[in-house]
Assembly symmetry: C2
Homo-oligomer: 212 residues x 2
DNA sequence: CCGATAACTTATCGGTGTTAGCTCACACGG
DNA sequence: CCGTGTGAGCTAACACCGATAAGTTATCGG
């Protein structure tokens, strides 16, 4: 909030306050991303103008555009995790908790399609193939870990058939991602009512994973 | 650096043969898409050079870049349909046919990631919101129709629980798309072995859709 | 041979991400 | 109290991109 659209005369920051611009750039980017709803419209120049600054100044804080977008999305990623955890915590039954988690995931994606697109529908940096990603810092691994925990819990409670929790969690993830991403990418397909489709998918998964 | 494939001035086409260039452009585009494996590298200028022609000539045959890429992918789409139909036809059991269809889908996506990305992971034209898409010509609707047919067949044979075939087919589609697109977009995730994951997902779906 | 026109080109526009190099104001050591 | 180092940001430019307007060339019917 405090949508500080303070554009034009942005005073130069004091000596030690250079980091403030970083925050302002992040805020401006997020604002643009949500307002326009189009990743293509979020250009370095547009961001710079929205932040009341010239384009090169952005590179004082971010190596390139990808890093900037990644930073924006990392914030959003944390919120996705928060949404899901909150939804899951509101339910006692471990199976229902998983269901709530899945629904929260889909809802988040549909409400933040451009963020979701960047997070899960575009290839990563693709740059350094010799730098095989730092797994510890891979954004979203925390959220995924929480899913694995909930799956394990459901198995321990006998709500799911015993199996490799990691494998099952991965399968659930691909499931919710499938519907979320297709709805975002192909809104013109003659979709059945979303709630119907979602309920069907969740039911099939639950039935397929139920203890025998 | 890019292997400049010999393009001398490319003789101008004869009077009635203007359409030949269209084919050459399509071929050049597909070639680039596969060679570079990066949609970003496939620019109008690069395509023009690969076809031995100047950029504006492309606009004699395609309204814009989107239309060109769509045309390239339409071809690939037909082949996806062919692959799946072929795989499904090789099996008698209707449930196994569905399974084969799904596996063929995933395989096609992983073997043609850049085509798959354009087909299913990017927003469509997004242009004319007042022109709500011509459903008849929506590419891939044919392939989807074949899936619905196979689902119906499996239900009639009692291999799947009776339900709305369109709904079930849509759910299956989102399922195979989920794993395909995530594998393409997030190759750095610590995936379990693909065959294991795929088998798990297919099994869960089969179990969830089985007659009671 | 002529002129209409299909098939293409040259030149250009406005936009993009990104970099090199500069300026200017502040803070601090002497 | 002043000189200077440097942090913070800017100007100008590069090399691309998609797209268009207007020109040129070669072919073919008559």
């Amino acid at each position: 909030m405090t949508s500080a659209p303070a554009q034009r005369p942005r005073a130069r920051a004091r000596r030690g306050q250079g980091e403030r611009l970083r925050e302002e750039i992040l805020e401006a980017t997020e604002r643009l991303l949500i307002q326009t709803g189009d990743q293509g419209a979020v250009s370095i120049r547009a961001i710079a103008e929205a932040a009341g600054v010239t384009p090169p100044s952005i590179y004082l804080h971010f190596a390139d555009k990808d890093e900037l977008l990644a930073a924006v999305c990392a914030v959003r990623f944390a919120e996705l995790d928060r949404c899901m955890t909150e939804a899951a915590a509101a339910v006692d039954d471990p199976l229902e908790a998983l269901r709530a988690r899945g629904l929260a995931y889909v809802q988040f994606g549909l409400e933040n399609p451009e963020h979701y697109r960047i997070l899960f529908m575009t290839r990563p940096v693709a740059g350094a193939a010799d730098n095989p990603v730092d797994l510890e810092h891979l954004p979203g691994l925390g959220a995924f870990g929480h899913l694995v925990e909930d799956v394990t819990r459901a198995m321990d409670a006998g709500a799911l058939a015993a199996a490799d929790p990691f494998l099952v969690a991965t399968g659930l993830w691909t499931g919710v991602h499938g519907i979320t991403s297709l709805l975002i990418a192909r809104p013109d397909f003659p979709w059945p009512p979303i709630e119907t489709l979602l309920a069907h998918i969740v039911d099939v998964s639950a039935r397929g994973l139920a203890p025998s």
